[in-house]
Amino acid sequence: MSSTDPTSPPVLRVRQLGVTFDTYRGPVQVLSDVNFEIAAGEILGVVGESGAGKSMTGAAVIGLIDPPGRISSGTVELAGERIDQLQGEALRRIRGRRIGSIFQDPLTSLNPVYTVGRHLVETIRTHLPLTEAQAKARALELLEEVEIPEPRVRFGQYPHQFSGGMRQRVAIALALCAEPQLIIADEPTTALDVSVQAQIIALLRRVCRERGAAAMLITHDMGVIAETADRVMVMYQGRVLETGPVREVLDRPTEPYTRVLMAAIPSVHERLERLPVPEIGSSAPVEAAKVVPVARATRKTLVEVRDLGKEYDLSLGWLERVVSRQPRKLLQAVDGVGFKIRQGSTFGLVGESGSGKSTVARMVAGLTVPTRGQVLFDGEDRFQTQADLRRRIQMIFQDPYASLNPRWTVERLIAEPLEVLGLSQRPEETAERVAQALRRVRMKPDDARKYPHQFSGGQRQRIAIARALASQPEFIICDEPTSALDVSVQAQVLNLMRDLQQEFGLTYLLISHNLAVIRHMCDDIGVMQRGRLVEAGDAQEVLDAPQHEYTRVLMAAIPDIRHVH
């Protein structure tokens, strides 16, 4: 744990920090009264949803708040010295030398035209009086320490030649160049695949411990905090709500918001009837969760996928192939996938990026034509049938900001399927059905006159659900419906989807990379890896006792809140 010497000041001490933004509407308070400390060798997790101010706090510590923002009150002390008032050269000397930073997206945080080696040597020589050769030697040591294989070769390569996880390792090496006392990591694993996330988290923890550096780990993912941090600070709308040892805050949260936050997180180990968060639009007290009984789905197969395949031709142009004497390169994005979805149930398709799950979803939806195999809906091949399936099958997409046309009103968006499919005869009928659809997703009929940008992400997703329901479909394909939403909003949307399924007897195909969401929502699942279905079956059985190696790796990689470290 942390090595605290009671007489030395903490590495970082922040008192009553306030940050204000001067906008065209007047000053907006973005952070208020933020207080915390981090001792040497300790990892503080800063957790909160979007708009909580956690990244802003990290930026304030290193003085990287861009105008029109400014620190309006409070102090920041590094090992006893005030640093919030520093400007210019004095501030520059602290950054990188005494405080190391790691940002979220390693692809954009590295300069694409500098080699990795040049990044490292430049940073090292800026802070330490070493020659070029000495700096290079140190750079190679750092690359080894962050577990990059073949450091000598990698030294001369460019960022685009590395994978996402490797790039983040390089970013960590850059943060460590001058042996800083404090490391600030802002969402370091959010842009990475689940299996890589676990490795990076472990690496971060190791390097901090070995150096006895203080660390500030900013993230929205509670599981990452649970695995890595010693203490945690929960933030909400620019304020700190509670701080304490990780185990205490997670198991016995004192603030209502924290309790809701914890309750909203689905678990990958057990399935609940509903996530115990307040209903949309109310702040009613939370009810205890219940473990769900056996599935209510019928035996009838509504959707069947047989030996589905999709091939993409990635070969270089014919000229390039002739000159470099290379054969055609075909990518099997989907390779022989088959499963059945029972009417009234939820089937989950889980996998990491590049697994092909979205492509399968598109083919089932009819948006992409398979290169082989069949998709059967209610017994008929959907690509051969004459029947009009557009009314019976609908889809919800991942990005709530891109799935609604920003130039159309909500009314027009929801009415479109009704009009195009000829389901409504008169304008009054259309208006009534739109109002009905909005009420079903717990929104007001008045909202129909507004535009999408006037709503939050969660509300937009609910509008998308209303649009999908307008034609009263039987089957809805949900492609990562909650991945872009905050945890608490996600919980509300998932509950809503459950309620709608029970009310209307809907069948869902749920695509997600998040195993906990899959566990919570699905009756049956399929696990995809690189285009192939490696394991399938009843959700409880597969997740409790995975048979395939890859499924086991996925389960193990998920940072778990219950994990005691």
Binding site: L64, G96, T108, V113, E320
Partner: protein, 321 residues
């Protein structure tokens, strides 16, 4: 890489071919060459004889091939107005235009990049604002107005510089240059400024916009978080990334200059290829028009290719492993 080169060469050849086709259509079908060459009162026999001599009685595809064959050998036909081989006429006037374009593009590039970087780094200062306003005026002013204004100021009022012509020229090998005499230099200043001004403002605004964009990027922010010095950030990271797209545009601008010399040469009566083209449009001198087309196309294609290869050398993302 080799494949990319071949592909680009192939595309260039296609463009040249397309242009040669257009040039040929213009050449063959606009106006009647026999009348233009022989005069209005030539007899029918004389015209028929000329027709056969020029090969106009053969089938069209064959004529096209002939035309292309001749072009490749440097025979671009006979000018209707001047009654001399087009290739000779063009070769005579080319050095004037090339020198002018060279001076103009060098000036535009150097001043444009320097001003662009300055106004990006010191964007709030009064000098930057003044330069930016000036650049807007520069973009709005038609080239000929700039020329006329300069003539009025420096030639009519101040009488410092000449208002037309090249000054005294010296023949070096086959190249008639004005850069070796004092009067040549004083004659080239005003036209060069006129020609290059628009390009300079363009490059300046481009460099400024690119640099501002780059300065907002994540890797600059990350560099700041690592404590890198401002000069390393600006002139190492930022400048390198800024100049890469600027190279392409600047390179293409050189070709525009040569084409735009038409206007400048008219204003200053500069004896170059542009002035030649104007008179050929007015006089419907078809072979010259066609030849100028081919010339411009060739120039552009060559410059485009060079710029593409330069880009390859400079941006590591484009090189395949």
């Amino acid at each position: 890489m080799l494949a990319y080169l071949l592909r680009r060469l192939g595309q260039s050849a296609l463009v040249l071919l397309a242009v040669s086709l257009i040039a040929f259509m213009v050449f063959r079908h606009i106006g009647d060459p026999t009348i233009s060459l022989l005069g209005e009162d030539a007899t029918l026999e004389e015209r028929a004889a000329l027709n056969t001599e020029l090969g106009f009685d053969k089938p069209v595809p064959l004529q096209y091939l002939n035309y292309v064959g001749k072009v490749v050998q440097g025979d671009l036909g006979i000018s209707y107005r001047l009654k001399r081989p087009v290739s000779e006429v063009i070769a005579e006037r080319l050095p004037a235009t090339l020198e002018l374009a060279l001076m103009a593009s060098l000036g535009a590039l150097v001043i444009g990049v320097v001003l662009g970087v300055y106004t990006a780094l010191r964007s709030e200062g009064w000098l930057s604002r003044a330069v930016m306003t000036g650049s807007l005026v520069g973009v709005s002013l038609p080239t000929f107005l700039i020329g006329i204004g300069l003539i009025y100021l420096f030639a009519v009022e101040l009488r410092w510089l000449p208002s037309f012509g090249r000054g005294t020229t010296v023949k070096v090998g086959g190249w008639e240059t004005g850069l070796l005499t004092a009067s040549g230099w004083s004659a080239i200043i005003l036209p060069a400024i006129t020609l290059g001004f628009y390009n300079m403002t363009l490059i300046m605004r481009l460099v400024r916009a690119e640099m501002l964009e780059v300065l907002r990027s994540d890797y600059i922010r990350f560099g700041r978080a690592r404590g890198l010095r401002e000069k390393d950030l600006y002139f190492g990271h930022a400048l390198r990334n800024t100049l890469i797209p600027v190279i392409t545009i600047a390179g293409l601008q050189i070709g525009t200059l040569i084409a735009f010399s038409i206007v400048t040469e008219t204003v200053f009566q500069w004896p170059g290829v542009g002035l030649l083209f104007i008179s050929s449009i007015q006089g419907v001198d078809v072979p010259l028009i066609a030849a100028y087309l081919m010339f411009i196309a060739l120039l552009y294609v060559v410059i485009n290719l060079l710029v593409d290869f330069l880009y390859l050398a400079v941006d590591p993302r484009l090189r395949r492993r």
